[in-house]
């Protein structure tokens, strides 16, 4: 069980973790498709690069971001004693 004095540091740590995961992800989500047209003349693994980044690239970024977030947030929970006693 988390100690009372640990609540604020835990929430500060959680907020930073959320922001550092969310903002780069949103930036990629907005920026990558806008350059798809220019990048389509190049190739990546046989695909037009713009299409590859806007489709496969964003899916990969989403999966990596999600699992990295889950892993890091679990570490934060344990570090501050906020985890569940399973």
């Amino acid at each position: 069980m988390i100690e009372r004095k640990e609540r604020k540091p835990y929430w500060r740590h959680t907020k930073w973790q959320m922001l550092t995961s969310l903002l780069p992800f949103l930036a990629a989500l907005v920026v990558l498709p806008l350059y798809a047209d220019q990048l389509n003349s190049r190739r990546a693994l046989g695909f037009p690069m713009g299409y590859f980044l806007a489709c496969h690239g964003l899916v990969l970024i989403a999966v990596v971001t999600t699992f990295a977030y889950i892993n890091r947030q679990d570490a934060i929970d344990h570090w501050h004693g906020a985890h569940e006693d399973l």
């Binding site: 907005v30 498709p33 989403a62 929970d77």
Partner: protein, 610 residues
């Protein structure tokens, strides 16, 4: 371990049971394949496919009967992350999304990725902002959560009213796709198809509520994955010699680009905020596959991605699937699984679209309109394509395709056996059953718990609460069924409208209720009302000419709702100590679920203390 009180982990044999289910499904398809070769009629094979899938789903739903409220509302909070994540993936896409997205990618190409990527991104953002915190709170519905979080019965009623609209739209969209898939398999009228789907839904929801739909939903989702991934893998082997078409269709895209140029397929250029989605029914290919921003402008593409993102985070159907896991950590993991599965399905849809284009665009060059090539003729015979009758020669613009049928069209185009075609149709039906069951169960529980029983739910008897929920589910099925038969709307558009309403109303209030302690009842009420009012105004007025198509409603409604929440909160007194303590507790994964604690304390106080 007080927070685990009354919770037992899922049956250790559950993996074996789902293995048996998958084996039964595959064995059924192989059996039908053998019967097909033995000369059994097409109609009998289709009937057998419906009977096999419906019997499997209804049996699982009915065998999950429960007389306990905790099981009926929350499935006992013991659905393992992987099964929950599989069902969550299919619910977030929905049958309308699955058929609509696969068909739109075929018809409009690259531009339609904005919707699929929005769904994947929505799940990713949900794991950071909302879902784990709602699991810690533990309430079965969004109105229950908001009602207890703000200690307000009126806010609970208001949020239930707001949630009814998107949930009913989603249920109608799913039922329409369910009816369509049944009519692919059985030669029956729409009313009979709706009756059959409604009966299966009643059989899978009424016995055990969320418990039933958790287990039947996991089985249906497994069937959907088999039905989509198996034909896609066969098509990939035929086209690229590799079974993973999701990662090997690159060279085919370039080959299709050359074919499209030779066939004079158009290269349209969309305005900055243009958003032209392929409609339901028959229509021609609108542009080359890999060409960007032909029917969706660059700004509209980004805004559509973000609108779908916030809609998925705020969708009550998706959020309801996030609170049935054994722990907060399992909720995070289950959404991780859902992100991965939706990502794989999105890549599958784009590979299916490109394989279909390759087979079709490459085959009709030089053919007379009176003698279409074999793949196209098979589609025309099954009603999934038609010729517009203009010109003596086949061109890309003279062939019309059924958007919602393009997933079922893949095995037909590739010349696969009828058993595989029926498997895909049954998979679409399973997706529709999962999506509709989730929305209708949420509707029933919301009306039963939050409206009929209301604040007395903590002290009402289990029988009364279960009866209220079951009757409300029956009512919701009847209304959605009547709506699906009567409404002529496009299911994909209904789904996008529901997502737009969720992103404008539920998203801001739920996110702020977790991340901003200062949010008051006044702020939350203003947020919900403003978001709903602005979203409905945009949806009904259709401001496409002003650069604001209806699916982009959250672009205006969400900022308006946030501003209203801020003003409403600062004009009303700071929340009390108990509410602030509840919010602090909500942010910590460990400890007892807040909903359980509040209900227990309310029961201890008794009905008079309320």
């Amino acid at each position: 371990m007080p927070h685990r009180q009354g919770t037992s982990l899922a049956n250790a044999m559950v993996g074996v049971y789902f293995g048996i289910f998958a084996a039964c499904l595959v064995a059924g398809v192989v059996l039908l394949l053998i019967f097909e070769q033995l000369g059994v009629t097409e109609a009998s094979l289709k009937k057998a496919m419906v009977v096999i899938s419906v019997a499997l789903f209804a049996t699982i739903g009915a065998s999950a009967y429960t007389g306990r409220v905790r099981e009926f509302l929350l499935s006992g909070r013991r659905v393992p992350a992987v099964y929950n994540g599989t069902a969550l993936a299919i619910v977030s896409l929905g049958a309308a999304g699955i058929t609509g997205l696969a068909g739109s990618l075929f018809i409009a190409g690259f531009d339609m990725l904005c919707i699929g990527i929005g769904i994947v991104a929505g799940l990713t953002v949900s794991v950071m902002l909302v879902a784990p915190y709602l699991r810690k709170f533990g309430a079965p519905t969004i109105p229950s959560y908001l009602g207890q979080r703000f200690e307000s019965g009126s806010l609970r009623l208001l949020s239930a009213t707001v949630c009814v609209l998107p949930l009913m739209l989603l249920a109608i969209a799913e039922l329409k796709i369910g009816m369509m898939s049944v009519m692919w398999l059985l030669p029956i009228p729409p009313e009979a198809a709706c009756g059959l789907v409604s009966l299966v839904l009643a059989a899978t929801i009424l016995p055990g509520g969320v418990r039933s739909i958790s287990w039947s939903g996991a089985a249906q989702s497994l069937a959907v994955l088999i039905a989509i991934l198996l034909p896609a893998a066969i098509a990939a082997v035929m086209e690229t010699n590799l079974p993973f078409g999701q990662f090997s269709h690159g060279p085919i895209i370039r080959a299709v680009g050359r074919l499209e140029a030779a066939q004079d397929v158009l290269v349209p250029v969309a305005g900055l905020t243009a958003l032209e989605l392929p409609g339901a029914g028959l229509q021609p290919i609108v542009g080359r596959f890999a060409t960007t921003f032909g029917s969706v402008g660059p700004l509209a593409y980004v805004l559509m991605t973000l609108s779908v993102l916030v809609g998925i985070v705020g969708s009550p159907a998706v959020l309801s699937r996030s609170v049935t896991t054994p722990s907060v950590y399992d909720t995070r993991k289950s959404i991780g699984w859902a992100v991965a599965l939706v990502g794989v399905l999105l890549l599958t849809f784009s590979s299916v679209a490109i394989f279909e284009r390759d087979a079709l665009v490459g085959s009709f060059a030089g053919h007379a309109a009176s003698a279409p090539p074999a793949p196209l003729q098979r589609l025309i015979d099954s009603g999934l394509a038609a010729l517009d009758g203009r010109g003596a020669r086949l061109t890309a613009s003279s062939i019309l395709f059924d958007r919602d049928g393009m997933l079922v069209a893949l095995p037909l185009i590739m010349g696969m056996p009828l058993a595989v075609v029926n498997l895909v149709a049954a998979g679409v039906m399973a997706a529709a059953l999962t999506g509709a069951a989730t929305s209708l169960t949420q509707l029933g529980i919301m009306i039963g718990e939050d409206v009929v029983v209301g604040p007395g739910s903590s002290t009402a008897s289990d029988q009364k609460r279960l009866m209220a929920c079951r009757l409300a589910v029956v009512g919701a099925i009847a209304i959605a069924g009547a709506g699906a038969v009567a409404a002529s709307g496009d299911p994909f558009v209904l789904m996008l409208y529901a997502i737009a309403i969720c992103g404008s109303t539920i998203f801001p209030v739920v996110v702020l209720s977790i991340w901003w302690k200062r949010l008051t009842i006044g702020g939350a009420t203003a947020c919900l009302l403003t978001g709903l009012g602005v979203a409905l105004a945009i949806l009904l007025a259709d401001l496409s000419s002003l650069g604001l198509p209806p699916p982009l409603a959250p672009v205006v409604a969400l900022p308006a709702a946030l501003v209203a929440a801020g003003i409403g909160s600062y004009l009303t007194p700071v929340p009390g100590r108990h509410i602030l303590e509840m919010v602090r507790d909500l942010r910590i994964p460990g400890g007892e679920a807040i909903y359980d604690r509040e209900m227990r304390q309310a029961r201890q106080r008794g009905p008079r203390a309320r």
